[in-house]
């Protein structure tokens, strides 16, 4: 596979303090790759190195086969939404986009006007095109920042918490846009967010950074199945039955944890093969089991578990 983003053995030190430890990951064309981690994990530092804003202490950080810090042409194929929106408050939304369009080499006025209209409509800000950005709300500025990042139809997008400060509608818009761009136009996206539900919906693969180290990486499904133990919800005929069963299963050696919720019990077991064993043991011990259902684990639970362990 041809990699659009290549990070190999990346190390970064600030005044002798190591903040990135030998990071390695690759992102292919049209992939949406999520970089997750708690505050101070090294996500923004990794993005900054890839963008050429910081120099790596050692290792490789390439985008489209080259270093962005050294190649002006490569930089014109990359779009970014960073923590700051990169907008000029004294200029209108249209003027802001016009400036960036010219910087990215859209020379013809007609072509520029057409593209600005397209991206403004895409983020739902065309009606506000003549309003100064200084008068925009946080959410509107974030939307305009996304339009700015898309103005030159980039091949690679770096989105550092793009939904920060956006309302539910805005968040859905960003998710939809990112998915559409990656699937239909083959745009590669490096995405960071603290909203794990969002990451689960948007990203095809993720890497979890903790303390400057990648502690897990892969597809969301593979991470969930690899790093989380199976959770089973068992329904009983009465609350008393459920309470008794909870007490009973706590004594089983393959049960990790167990909680009683009314007529049901939520049971965490060691492995997938323990689920039929659990039901079997309950039935054999005389408990009247109505239903036993495996609960789908969320990325958030895996994330919290891994962060806690790390």
């Amino acid at each position: 596979m041809e990699w659009v983003i290549e990070v190999e053995g990346l190390v970064k030190e600030f005044n002798g303090r190591r903040v990135l430890h030998n990071i390695t990951f690759h992102v292919g064309r049209g992939e949406v790759f999520g970089l997750l981690g708690p505050n101070g994990a090294g996500k923004t530092t990794t993005i900054r190195i890839l963008l050429g804003l910081l120099e790596p202490t050692s290792g490789k950080a390439l985008v489209l086969g080259g270093k962005l810090s050294e190649n002006r042409k490569l930089r014109s194929r990359v779009g970014v939404v960073l923590e700051g929106d990169g907008l000029f408050p004294q200029l209108t939304a249209y003027e802001n986009l016009e400036f960036y369009a010219r910087v990215y080499g859209l020379k013809s006025t007609v072509e520029r006007g057409k593209r600005i209209r397209e991206v403004l409509e895409l983020v739902g800000l065309y009606e506000a095109r003549d309003v100064r950005v200084g008068c925009f709300s946080r959410g509107m500025r974030r939307r305009l920042a996304l339009a700015r990042a898309l103005i030159h139809s980039p091949n690679v997008l770096f989105l550092d918490e793009p939904t920060l400060g956006l309302d539910v509608e805005g968040q859905a818009l960003v998710r939809g846009l990112v998915t559409k761009l990656s699937r239909e136009e083959g745009v590669t996206v490096l995405y960071t967010s603290h909203d794990l539900n969002e990451v689960e919906r948007v990203c095809s693969r993720v890497a979890l950074l903790v303390g400057g180290r990648i502690v897990a990486s892969g597809t969301v499904e593979s991470l969930v199945s690899e790093f989380s133990k199976p959770l089973v919800e068992v329904y009983f005929t009465s609350v008393g039955e459920a309470l008794k069963a909870t007490k009973y299963v706590r004594g089983l050696n393959y049960v990790v944890e167990c909680w009683c919720n009314g007529k049901s019990a939520t049971i965490l077991v060691d492995g997938n093969s323990d689920i039929p064993k659990l039901v079997d043991d309950l039935v054999r011990s005389g408990f009247k089991v109505i239903e036993a259902r495996r609960v789908k684990r969320r990325l958030e639970e895996v994330y919290l578990e891994l962060v806690r362990k790390s």
Partner: protein
Amino acid sequence: MLLQVVVWREFKETLRNRSLLSSVFSVFAFLGMLNATTVKLPISVDSIILYMAPCLGIIVGFGLSTRFVREKQEGTVETLLCTPLTLRELWLGKVVSLTIPSHIVSVVLTLAFICLRGYTLNTLMAVYLAMVVPVVIASTTGLLGFLYYILGMREVRILNYIVFFTLFAALYLVVGRLTFPTILTWCNVGIVLALSLVIFGITYYLIAHLSKERIIASIS
């Protein structure tokens, strides 16, 4: 080409910025007071041209140069550095767009003051105002911009205090010298121009060798 784009955008921002208006008003008020307090004293027109004009331009330029800091604080510079623009283009674009309005304000107000006092300009004075004063303003705002880029936010605040009090002291000295006869010669015009060009040249060289990491590290 890209420089032109940056200058045009900076211009629009400068003209819409209230700090231009407040800088012009401060300079205007200062000149008004100066005129009122020295109305009966003989003032050397050469001194006004030689010292006062660049000083006024630097004051306006200093007022406008806060844009370097604001772009850093808001993270805009980070986004700009990810575009095909180079740091030198960004810096130069800002310096040019800050110098032109500062120059216009300083020349117009200096000429107004001179006319009000009934003096006339000679060729050397005109050359100095038209060609040397903008270089002085550009070298000062350029150096300030460079320092704003490399310094952390706390150091920037300290720098602003230092510049403010230096300008205040310089104005005090200039006003004190206005009644002394100074002669504007091609020699002292040349010295001022050469010094300004050297400062501008050094800053121009340094900015090209400034790493983006230095700027990013000084933001956080």
